[in-house]
């Protein structure tokens, strides 16, 4: 034990904790306390007026009687993970192309790709409902014009069309953010690696796979993880786009919980909503940790 303790430089430890002190305080007060609050409420029935101890009843209800919840979990996974298939390669490509020295009009493209972030989720979701509208919506008009469909398609009347709309909007917004992350990550790759490869006669594609991907692997790993976790937290965009879809079919988990929290026409069920929050967090944690473990191999390359 003594040997290990010697390794710690007192000065370093002191400065580190000094720096981290506000963070740790903030963590305990603003993050950990709410967690306990929510866990506490999850074992009660609370409707805003009276609270009665429920034990594990809320949890039992989630696991045995609430199919809507599990449907929303499934939807959340489908959307959050499915969209990454398009979103990540797209933003990676864009970031890479914009990082090349010789590209013209870089600034214009760069600003253009930032646009989705500028509107905000609420306004952009409403714009998308206009675009995908059945009556005279631009998307429908375009598809009819291109001869792909004959009649306007009702994007919101069945589950998979509605999911497509949600994914499209989500990709549109996420592309913008992830491109920023990737561009920052690319700053790190020294140019001489590319130059050396060029001299050695490697094609651009080979350069991409042998230099870019490995160099960006740690950043990529983090970006993917963030994208997955943030995808699971989607609420407002789905609320505004489909309001849970035709009859609750595109409900995502956080929206479902939000509705239990703020339901009108029936009593609010804070205890139950808290219990759902707890279960959801556990699920997200398990999945993300599994992901981190699996992807650990690709992390340390340089």
């Amino acid at each position: 034990m003594e040997k290990i303790r010697e390794k710690y430089d007192k000065h370093v430890v002191a400065s580190s904790y000094l720096v981290l002190a506000p963070q740790i305080i903030g963590l305990i007060v603003f993050s950990i306390y709410p967690v306990f609050w929510v866990i506490r409420y999850s074992v009660y029935h609370y409707d805003g007026i009276t609270a009665s101890f429920a034990g594990l009843e809320n949890f039992i209800r989630i696991f045995t009687r609430d199919s809507g919840y599990w449907m929303s979990i499934l939807n959340t996974f489908i959307i959050a993970y499915g969209k990454l298939i398009i979103e990540i390669p797209l933003s990676l490509m864009a970031a890479m192309l914009l990082s090349k020295k010789v590209l013209k009009c870089k600034k214009l493209f760069s600003v253009g790709f930032y646009m989705p972030n500028v509107l905000g989720i609420a306004v952009s979701a409403m714009i998308f409902t206009f675009l995908f509208s059945s009556f005279n919506g631009i998307i429908n008009n375009f598809l009819i014009f291109a001869g792909i469909i004959k009649e306007p398609h009702n994007w919101f009347s069945d589950k998979w069309s509605a999911m497509t709309v949600i994914c499209t909007h989500s990709i549109w917004v996420g592309f913008s953010t992830n491109m920023l992350f990737f561009m920052a990550g690319f700053q790190n790759i020294p140019d001489d690696l590319y130059e050396a490869a060029e001299i050695d006669g490697a094609s651009k594609i080979k350069q991409f796979f042998k230099i870019t991907i490995p160099m960006i692997a740690p950043t990529l790993r983090i970006i993917l993880m963030l994208a997955m976790v943030n995808g699971m937290k989607m609420t407002n965009n789905v609320l505004l786009l489909t309001n849970g879809g035709p009859a609750g079919k595109t409900n995502v988990v956080m929206l479902y919980i939000y509705k239990a929290f703020f339901e009108t026409g029936a009593k609010a069920q804070y205890g139950y909503a808290s219990a759902m929050g707890v279960v959801t967090s556990v699920i997200v944690a398990i999945v993300t940790l599994a992901y981190l473990r699996i992807s650990k191999k690709s992390a340390n390359v340089y």
């Binding site: 409707d47 009556f135 009702n154 919101f156 009347s157 009859a247």
Partner: protein, 449 residues
């Protein structure tokens, strides 16, 4: 550069701190500030003017300043968080019986009788307060003054174009739901890009309550959703009629397309552009269709339809949220708060709002006494729907495990449930919730019997 930055930062801090200190200045002089909150966007402009006038005349004399704020979106969340934060204003509109119950039981709001002059006030306005709607545990917390009436809003031009007219060639509004279905079909077939009827299913909660439940009560009475407090059962069987009607409309494809993503605003905007034959509207639509979306078409209002072969039993009316007094009012000048409260409920104010075509007073006398010179015929029509006796009943709010009736309506619309299945499911869900509610004592059936 660094110095400039430092100066800027300091300046920013100083200027922004100056915004912090504006809190309690008002109470130091003898002017009492009474804050009033409302969620009504339609009356915002008019009320602001009225309040300003009050502040400059009676307010100045009596040492009262009213601060009127309108929160048009997320009003419920705003109220809830203020309640938790103990930042409720002195007087505020509280929507929904369940919210009022919650606030009453948590003591966020005070019974009117506890305020000076409260009992006299109740004698005048508080007649027929019902436990569960205005009274909780025997104490009255709110007195409703405004109502919203519903009616069938229809586009006369489209009716004429489809040939649905009476002997004089005037558009003939449907009187029964069966006629509604027929007329909707005719209108849809009569032209391109026109549709008979519109249901904004994105706002399916609104549709379920205002376009289905309330209109159906005109035919079937307040017991449209029958609740038996002895057996502890709900009976949604009469809803089968409404579900069949909806399915009929869907079958005919006579509804404005994209209903699942159509919200009420867009629906009314489309009506204003003359593409929709009719919809079940409410008195608030007059303002929307005249000032906000100036209608291109000639439109009118008719009474809500009834089921074929049945008589109209009552005029359904929605009670607007009323003003409650928060417990914060007890910490300030109670008499002045009561003054403002009385002012807000005065017949004069209600008459003024009615004449400006912004809200309909509950008391029929006020409606009848109002000056009707420049009134729009549509508004007059809605005003005429105010009954002498307002029919209402308190219903328990339940902890539901499953779909509310609005969710079920949506499922019927989408085709997931047939009419019979929907009724069965509703009965089952609500029965369970009622029984559970009585078991764990969150519902007291004696209140509702």
């Amino acid at each position: 550069m660094k110095k400039v930055l430092a100066i800027l930062v300091t300046a920013a801090i100083c200027i922004s701190f100056s915004g912090c200190s504006s809190k309690k200045g008002a109470e130091s002089n003898r002017m009492a500030t009474v804050r009033v909150w409302s969620g009504s966007g339609a009356t915002k402009e008019a009320m602001t003017k009225i309040i300003d006038e009050y502040n400059n005349t009676q307010g100045k004399e009596n040492g009262i300043k009213i601060e009127y704020s309108v929160f048009t979106s997320d009003y419920n969340t705003t109220l809830d968080t203020s309640a938790q934060n103990e930042q409720l204003p002195e007087i505020m509109k509280v929507p929904g019986a369940e919210t009022k119950e919650k606030y009453a039981k948590n003591k966020y709001v005070v019974p009117i009788a506890d305020m000076p002059g409260g009992s006299e006030f109740l004698e005048k306005y508080g007649e027929k307060a019902i436990e569960g709607i205005e009274m909780f545990d025997g104490k009255t917390y709110v007195v409703n003054t405004e109502v919203t009436t519903i009616g069938l809003v229809y586009n006369k031009d489209l009716f004429k174009a489809a040939g649905i007219t009476d002997e004089n060639g005037e558009a003939l509004a449907p009187k029964t739901w069966e006629e509604v279905r027929e007329d909707a079909k005719k209108i849809t077939e009569s032209g391109k890009s026109v549709y008979g009827i519109s249901f904004p299913m994105k706002d399916y909660g609104l549709v379920a309550q205002w376009m289905i439940e309330m209109p159906m009560q005109a035919t079937f009475g307040m017991d449209y959703t029958k609740i038996d407090y002895n057996d502890l059962t709900y009976d949604y069987s009469k809803w089968e009629y409404a579900f069949d009607f909806i399915n009929g409309i869907k079958q005919d494809k006579s509804y404005f397309p994209g209903a699942e993503s159509l919200d009420n605003d867009t629906s009314r905007a489309q009506f204003a552009k003359g593409r929709i034959g009719m919809f079940i509207g409410a008195s608030w639509d007059v303002g929307v269709l005249t000032t906000q979306f100036a209608a291109d078409c000639d439109w009118a209002v008719a009474p809500v339809p009834v089921a074929a072969g049945k008589e109209r039993v009552l005029q359904p009316v929605g009670l607007s949220s009323g003003y409650c007094i928060s417990n914060n009012a007890l910490k300030t000048d109670k008499e002045k708060v009561m003054e403002v409260y009385k002012f807000l409920h005065s017949d004069d104010l209600q008459a003024l709002l009615y004449e400006k075509q912004l809200s309909i007073p509950k008391r029929v006398q006020v409606v009848q006494n109002a000056k009707i010179e420049q009134m729009l015929p549509q508004w007059e029509m809605f005003g005429s729907f105010v009954p002498n006796e307002i029919n209402r009943r308190a219903v328990p709010t339940l902890k539901l495990e499953g779909d509310t009736y609005a969710d079920v309506l949506m499922k019927v619309w989408v085709g997931d449930l047939s009419s019979k299945e929907a009724v069965e499911q509703l009965n089952k869900t609500y029965n369970n919730a009622l029984k559970k509610g009585v078991e764990d004592k969150s519902v007291d059936v004696n209140v509702y019997k």
